[in-house]
């Protein structure tokens, strides 16, 4: 849509914080999540999973399982489509192993039975003969020349010659001359950093209910961030036409990127087709940890040169990410985000995508970016410390702004990094006194944000109310935001608008709710659809008044003559026009179908105070402030919620959370007891400052806010912990044993 620059003032609905439309259902237990779906005659399924990190599947004998009373069917890889290529083949291989189990927890067969207990009993009766193969789970070990090969020929053409076959993609970008830049520096610091894989940790395990008939027509209910994507992939994997599968997204109990892909849905469809009954399949927590999509783990080297006055002269980074047993680790984002906050004349970044015997990584909130910030912002912190410079002032001195040539190439459009740094500097937190054993850390973070294919329909009812139909599952209160934007355009109360997430048969294609795109893209689409409807409303008024459509304007929920020359008519309220719409030309709807471009990148600055117990090495976060550019906050309370949620997840990533693999390649901490996400008593209140530098690509200036909030915390906390402990921490998580070891090493060293 054509934009004359974003609207920046005069909002009536946008910027208020009404109650969310799904609030009542969610506080009363009525909301239907993935595992709450039921169908008559429904069977329950369970999946047989490999106990080995890497093993050839010699044979699968399902006869004993099939003989168990109550078991209706068993599927293996033979029950799926053959001949797939590219990413569809990777997904099928991940959903159900072919001739090799590639990680601990890899699905090898599945059973459907008349009860969940019988299904679980039956999977123990499936006899799989494995030939165990050598495995590797660490990214550096997987790149070493003697590493076992996960899959020969998986690398694409980007990979330079001479690297191990486990290196499957390579990225290199930058500009200027880094050697010259380092030579011009007064101080150069180079350091090595690692981060462990973490899990999105959504509380709702993956769940679905599938029904697929021999006629190739199917129904699927599931918790997902994007049901059109589920439709497309599932149809391909079970070999039916996309449009013959109707997918309905349930309420979603958290996703954070982990529900942008499919794991169990094609399995339930295959079982349903074979059993000719609806099949429900729900992962347990252990399966979520072992066999959904955690993040990459990383091994990184970062080198930065600085002048005595704080000017960065050059920066380079090498980022090695393992993404499990398939290509796809988001190393290009790690590389491209790493130095984005800074205006650099000389910068070079290299990324390696490495395969290991771990589950196929999935997106997690700004995939790849938080790790980069951890390494880069740690080095900047060390440089500031060595040179006696203020951390915020130094970042301001080097900060990217409109027109800066970004580290990843193009010039930045209007951005709000400087504004977040200024707001952080002015915040009382930055100058508050610190207690004993406490340290303060600061970090910036960057994320691109995304737009994507979007369809929205807005339909008016006779009584003057409106319904908005969107296709992006609501993962953070977006239905309220859509209704606010429609209320703003239509000039009717928020309460008179209902926003619904359509199933795949009820609306055109929508890309997944990811990339912080929903309030941006579905929001832009909602505004455009409302404007489309308003045009029709004005047309009806013009016809009634016998004047030109162009002579009618829409203000305060009414059609009005545009001026004295247009004629003297009383304003026509929306409900007056819709009351007779059937007789004056038919139903009035508004539509938008397009791929809006112009998501608008986003920056944040976080301040954190950490207290480290020198005896136990335990860290407490005592104060936390998030400052982030939202472009325009549509529903400020939900924007704050995104800021706080991202910070809390970052705290877990920094201090506690990690995938721990044993020597045998098996995941050792596949329960919430052992994979410890932050609980209420671990955290302080999380202060927020919403900065608004309008995004030129959205009619109200919206930028996505969901992901950027997880980019600075790892680094900000590492800087705070290092200040508190008096020793630099290079490896995440900074768990008590790691901090103790660093303190001991310092004492000995």
């Amino acid at each position: 849509m054509a934009l004359d620059g974003p609207k920046t003032s005069g909002f009536t609905a946008v910027g208020t914080t009404p109650n969310r439309p799904d609030g009542l259902d969610k506080v009363t237990g009525r909301a239907k999540f993935g595992a709450d779906a039921q169908a008559p005659g429904m069977l329950h399924a369970a999946i047989v999973r490999s106990p080995h990190a890497h093993a050839r599947i010699v044979s699968i004998d399902t006869s004993k399982a099939e003989a168990l009373k109550g078991v209706k069917t068993v599927v293996t890889r033979a029950d799926f489509t053959t001949g797939l290529k590219g990413e569809n083949w990777n997904i099928l291989e991940n959903v159900m192993a072919g001739d090799t189990a590639l990680y601990d927890g890899h699905a090898v067969a599945a059973v459907a039975a008349i009860s969940p207990l019988i299904a679980r009993d039956a999977i123990k009766l499936v006899e799989v003969e494995y030939q165990v193969l050598p495995h590797v789970t660490n990214v550096d070990a997987a790149m070493a020349q003697d590493a076992p090969i996960i899959r020969e020929g998986a690398a694409n053409k980007s990979v330079p010659a001479g690297l191990h076959p486990n290196v499957v993609r390579y990225h290199e970008s930058g500009h200027g001359d880094v050697d010259k830049g380092f030579a011009a520096a007064d101080l150069v610091i180079e350091d090595h950093f690692t981060t462990e894989a973490t899990h999105q940790g959504y509380i709702e395990p993956h769940a679905c209910l599938a029904q697929l008939g021999g006629d190739g027509k199917g129904e699927l209910w599931c918790c997902t961030q994007g049901h059109w994507n589920v439709q497309k992939i599932c149809a391909a994997l079970v070999g039916i036409e996309t449009s013959q599968l109707r997918v309905t997204a349930s309420e979603i109990g958290g996703g954070f990127g982990g529900k942008t892909v499919v794991f169990i849905e094609p399995v339930a469809l295959a079982l349903s087709r074979k059993a000719n009954r609806p099949v429900k399949l729900v992962m347990n927590r252990s399966e979520v940890f072992r066999a959904s999509g955690p993040t990459s783990s990383t091994s990184m080297d970062v080198k930065i040169g600085m002048k005595n006055d704080g000017t960065i002269t050059a920066a380079s980074g090498t980022f090695r990410l393992q993404g499990g047993a398939f290509p796809g680790a988001p190393m290009e984002f790690t590389a491209m985000c790493a130095f984005a906050p800074y205006a650099l004349e000389n910068v070079r970044q290299v990324g390696y995508d490495v395969m290991t015997n771990r589950p196929k990584q999935a997106a997690y909130r700004a995939p790849g970016s938080p790790m980069a910030a951890f390494a880069v912002e740690s080095v900047i912190d060390e440089l500031c410390k060595e040179l006696g410079l203020d951390p915020i002032q130094t970042r301001l001195k080097n900060a990217s702004h409109e027109g800066t040539k970004a580290s990843f190439g193009p010039k930045f459009d209007k951005i709000g990094l400087v504004e977040t740094l200024e707001a952080a500097k002015a915040h009382p937190h930055f100058t508050a006194p610190l207690g004993e054993n406490q340290g303060r850390g600061v970090s910036c973070g960057f994320w691109f944000n995304h737009s994507g294919e979007t369809s929205v329909t807005l339909a008016l009812s006779e009584d003057g109310s409106a319904q908005i139909v969107v296709g992006t599952p609501d993962i953070g209160g977006s239905r309220a935001s859509m209704a606010l934007m429609a209320a703003e355009e239509l000039g009717i109360p928020y309460e008179n608008i209902r926003c619904t997430i359509a199933d795949t048969a009820s609306l055109g294609y929508n890309e997944v709710s990811h990339g912080s795109r929903v309030t941006y893209a579905s929001g832009l689409a909602t505004i455009a659809a409302a404007r489309d409807a308003v045009k029709r409303l004005c047309g009806r008024a013009a016809a009634k008044w016998g004047i030109d459509e162009e002579a009618v304007v829409w203000e305060d929920g009414c059609a009005k003559p545009s001026g004295p020359n247009a004629g003297d008519f009383d304003p026509l309220p929306l409900a007056e026009i819709t009351r007779t719409m059937g007789a004056t030309g038919g139903p009035i709807n508004g539509h938008f179908e397009a791929t809006p471009e112009g998501a608008g990148v986003s920056f944040a600055t976080h301040i954190v105070d950490a207290e480290v117990d020198p005896e136990t090495g335990k860290t407490s976060i005592v104060r936390y402030t998030v400052v982030q550019d939202a472009g325009k906050a549509i529903h400020p309370a939900y924007v704050e919620g995104q800021f706080q949620g991202g910070a809390a997840q970052g705290i877990g990533w920094a201090l506690n959370e990690e995938y721990i693999y044993g020597e045998d390649g098996r995941l050792q901490n596949d329960l919430f007891l052992d994979y410890r996400i932050p609980v209420a008593s671990d955290l302080p209140m999380i202060d927020t400052v919403i900065v608004e530098v309008p995004n030129p690509g959205h009619p109200y200036g919206v930028r996505g806010v969901g992901e950027t909030s997880i980019c600075p915390p790892l680094a900000a906390i590492a800087n705070a912990v290092s200040a508190a402990a008096g020793v630099r921490l290079h490896d995440l998580p900074m768990s008590p044993p790691r901090i103790r070891a660093a303190l001991d090493a310092q004492k000995d060293g």
């Binding site: 506080v27 237990g29 309370a637 910070a647 919430f672 609980v679």
Partner: protein, 159 residues
């Protein structure tokens, strides 16, 4: 294996169900009684999404066998509101945006209601430790804690 016949009271209503001896109270509530408000987030008592009260005591229903409900009084999220009138906690959670995805909300409401019945004037630290068994991955707990503290203050003023 034969099923066990269980008679129990859920949210004030006497109900009966048949369950396998291995089935949990959570399974019974969700699969036999169609009360799907309690959620299974882990099945190991670590996440609290399945929190219910049993004879007034807060429990993880995934760690209680269905058969143990015999003769007991069970309280679930579905019983917190009084008909159309929401409990002040429910109202406050909506007003404070104290939920994002909402999967943990039923368990957190059951748990906080139990807390306020026991301790009408908890400190922030007491609320945080009481809720340490209820995982929320979306909110960072900030708005949840504020909603609980404010509800407690309202209830004290009203009593």
């Amino acid at each position: 294996m034969s099923n066990i016949h269980v008679t129990t009271t859920v949210n004030g209503d006497e109900v009966e169900f048949l369950c396998d001896p291995r089935e949990t109270l959570l399974d019974a509530l969700r699969d036999k009684l169609n009360l799907t408000g309690a959620k299974e987030g882990c099945g190991t008592g670590d996440c609290g999404a399945c929190s219910v009260t049993m004879d007034g005591r807060l429990v993880c229903s995934c760690l209680v066998l269905g058969a143990e409900a015999e003769g007991k009084q069970i309280g679930t999220v579905e019983g917190i509101a009084d008909g159309e009138t929401l409990h002040p906690l429910q109202q406050k959670f909506i007003e404070y945006a104290a939920l994002q995805c909402g999967i943990c909300t039923p368990g957190i409401l059951v748990a906080t209601k139990a807390l306020l019945e026991k301790n009408p004037d908890p400190t922030e630290t007491e609320v945080r430790y009481w809720l340490a068994g209820n995982l929320c991955r979306c909110t960072g707990y900030d708005k949840i804690i504020r909603a609980v503290m404010d509800t407690a203050a309202d209830l004290r003023r009203a009593s």
